[in-house]
Symmetry: C2
Subunit: 463 residues, 2 copies
């Protein structure tokens, strides 16, 4: 494909995307497709001869888009948001066109330095304490794994007696990181939570004391700011003090919630963060940056490097002693130019613009929580410190019957989602089936939340 | 930013990219910037107020682009190619606009199924034996780590006695994977290589026998098809037979070379691949697919899943029993829609078009090897089975003095790179400083290789 043909088709794609966004509200949020539909519609072999780009774009429209869930739909209340904002998409486009490979300073000097600059910007914008240095990783899962590996490696031979701690409500990537890091289940401790689903420091303290008495070595403690099930916020300072006392690595997982600290009023939820050794938050969720873009901050860069560094002859450069080579800051060698889109986002919206967006979502979540609280037959199941509301419908006839309530709410959720106008997901809190309504898609306005709430109430009366 | 503003700026970016590509040859391949230049030129804080997109794009042109190394330059002979072809960039653009998050089938049904389809296409196009199932990972580093983790986990308690094997010439990501997987240096074996820099099965057999006699458990053996230093190709079948005999996991790393198996004449280099348990190759190097896009094939999907699967309530869906959820196939939970660009590439070029590209590069590499061989004072240091030529200049006055030869060739390389017309990197083979000239950038034509060779010969006469 010549640059001129790219220019023509590139303009077509830009127009397609702009049209797609303008019409996104008229689409069903999730498609009504069945497993295997697309597979059956496509040939089983790659074509031998080149095909015109027009044919490919036609297939995108005819086969791919009807099978996509639309994360950019204003009725997207599922999981957590994944905000592919327009400036961010422009950044992705430009990064793709530049085709840079950012493993080392020398392979993309400006990309390396822009990453240093935007990570410093982000550290200050999110009130992350001084002394932390950031880098971009693909996902919080990978960053948390890196935290576990670093914590393990710095123990040396004691790693064989290493124990790890996280709350019952911590994200599944934490248990996965422990497993991948080779910490067996018998040395992993699940800490109990309080009524707000937050980690109980008293239980953590008891577990630590027990393990030390048994000759084990507490190696890592994870606290969450904004859990996935309910956005519970663990007491960062209290856990940090226990971690310090135990000389354990302290990892704070704020994958979803951390970027809300762009608002001063949210920062108390992160009080004590200066006690952490590592901290992860995802601009690719709420902070308008398209996936993937995880910010991973560490206090002791040397510890991270000693776990992740390699230096084969074919990668050495004369500049190595004086530059940052981000290939040594994580698992992959190759790295995309992800700093560019984050730079575009921070400049296009400005911190003031981003604060306004976050405040809007938080206000909508509070409003929804108020409707749940004020409506008979509905029960809220968790506090709402951020943008997620957890609740269920409790018809008087089913009250007390957890199994029946689970079936009733699962049915209700399925009916609401089948409308195509919204998409919500579920979790369990304690033994209770819980509907999660996450407000953070940047196209979501008050009317969308209102209409979702209406849909829910209507669906609750159907059987 | 409104969709209309995106449309306007999107068109600007498309034009910018097309112009950039059309003028890329007139740029210096690598910039003449010093460490810290960009950092000093940028503000230390994110802006409080939104900035117009024009100002951002102006800064890209003024500050970012002059600090980029141009991987798309036809004079790019460094490392291995990273081909951001036009159809691939169109795929990246569209994927960014769709903003999909492909962790589960339900979160993007078409993306999941397209990944199944293109992995099946790729398996057949690259003559990967039946029985292998592919998925897309970010990098070969991550895929190799996953192979190590899977190999470790299937040993159960025997993992504590697990040994691992790879050749002296294997990629640095292999040793890194072993370290991250928690296999200590005293259980890692580096196998000697032959004169073509390929793994010596006789030495591997001896190491395996020795370890088994010592009560250790051979857990994983890695063979390379196309090493990074010299594109050496280990004997896949012989190593595979030893792996089978030792009941060790057999991982074949063909990150660079594997996609060349689109050519039937290259396939003998992969003879015996049916003995492998896992296989990795990178469409994001030579196969015209922009970074990142690694293809990871495994024989026993269940073993992979049992290492990587998580199933918290908030991710469960009614479809789980009948669909593939790719979040369970690797380390990260979140996943971009990378199948789209690979689909665009395979269709836009067709297999015939891709074969022509590969054959062109291979012929140029043979031609360059011939020039090196036929020119007095130059020494070729490795066979040329793929697109890389390894050589050095040996002036008669320095012959036999390895240190002087290293200094001489490093100086020569620096002068050639300072021209701005080409970029080449180095390695060491044995004790010898080696210039690597990798031919695989899709814009590279015969005249660029010729002109690089002229530059090298001229630089060799300077001191």
């Amino acid at each position: 494909m010549t640059p001129e043909a790219f220019r023509r088709h590139g303009h077509e794609i830009v127009d397609w995307i702009a049209d797609y966004w303008q019409g996104i509200e008229s689409r069903d949020v999730v498609p009504g497709v069945e497993p295997g539909e697309l597979r059956r519609a496509l040939p089983t072999r790659a074509p031998e001869a080149a095909e015109p780009f027009e044919a490919i774009l036609e297939d995108v429209e005819r086969l791919i888009v009807p099978g996509m869930a639309h994360w950019g739909h204003p009725g997207w209340f599922a999981y957590f948001p994944s905000n592919a904002s327009p400036p961010s998409v422009l950044g992705e486009m430009l990064a793709a066109g530049l085709g840079a490979q950012c493993m080392s300073w020398v392979t993309s000097p400006a990309a390396t330095e822009l990453e240093q600059v935007v990570m410093a910007w982000l550290r200050e914008a999110l009130a992350i304490p001084e002394g932390f240095t950031g880098s971009i990783q693909d996902t919080a899962s990978s960053a948390t794994l890196v935290a576990f590996l670093t914590a393990r490696d710095r123990l040396g031979p004691d790693a064989a007696r290493m124990t790890a701690y996280w709350s019952r409500e911590a994200h599944s990537s934490v248990a996965k990181a422990a497993r991948l890091a080779g910490i067996p289940p018998e040395r992993c401790r699940v800490v109990e939570v309080d009524q707000a689903w937050a980690l109980r420091p008293d239980h953590l303290a008891a577990l630590l004391a027990q393990d030390r008495a048994a000759g084990l070595v507490p190696g890592i403690i994870v606290a969450s700011m904004g859990t996935t099930s309910s956005t519970a916020c663990d007491p960062i300072r209290a856990v940090g003090e226990l971690a310090r006392g135990a000389r354990a690595w302290y990892h704070v997982d704020a994958a979803y919630g951390g970027t809300a600290a762009i608002l001063p009023e949210i920062r108390p939820l992160l009080d004590g963060l200066e006690l952490a050794d590592s901290y992860v938050t995802n601009p690719h969720k709420w902070l308008m940056t398209s996936f993937d873009c995880t910010a991973y901050f560490v206090r002791d860069v040397e510890a991270l490097l000693s776990t992740c560094r390699t230096s084969p002859e074919y990668l050495r450069t004369a500049h190595d002693p004086e530059v940052v080579n981000y290939r040594d800051w994580g698992i992959p060698l190759g790295r995309r130019f992800r700093a560019l889109k984050l730079w575009f986002v921070l400049r296009s919206y400005g911190l003031a613009g981003l604060r306004e967006l976050f405040r809007g979502h938080l206000a909508l979540a509070q409003e929804l929580a108020g409707w749940v609280d004020g409506t008979q037959g509905w029960e809220r199941l968790a506090p709402v410190p951020l943008g997620l509301v957890c609740f269920r419908h409790v018809p008087p006839t089913l009250a007390g019957d957890e199994q029946a309530l689970a079936r009733h709410n699962a049915g209700l959720l399925a009916r609401v989602n089948a409308s195509g106008r919204v998409f919500l997901t579920h979790t369990t809190l304690g033994e209770r089936y819980t509907i999660r309504m996450s407000i953070g898609q940047f196209r979501t306005e008050r009317r969308h939340v209102e209409s979702a709430w209406e849909l829910l109430r209507e669906a609750a009366t159907e059987r």
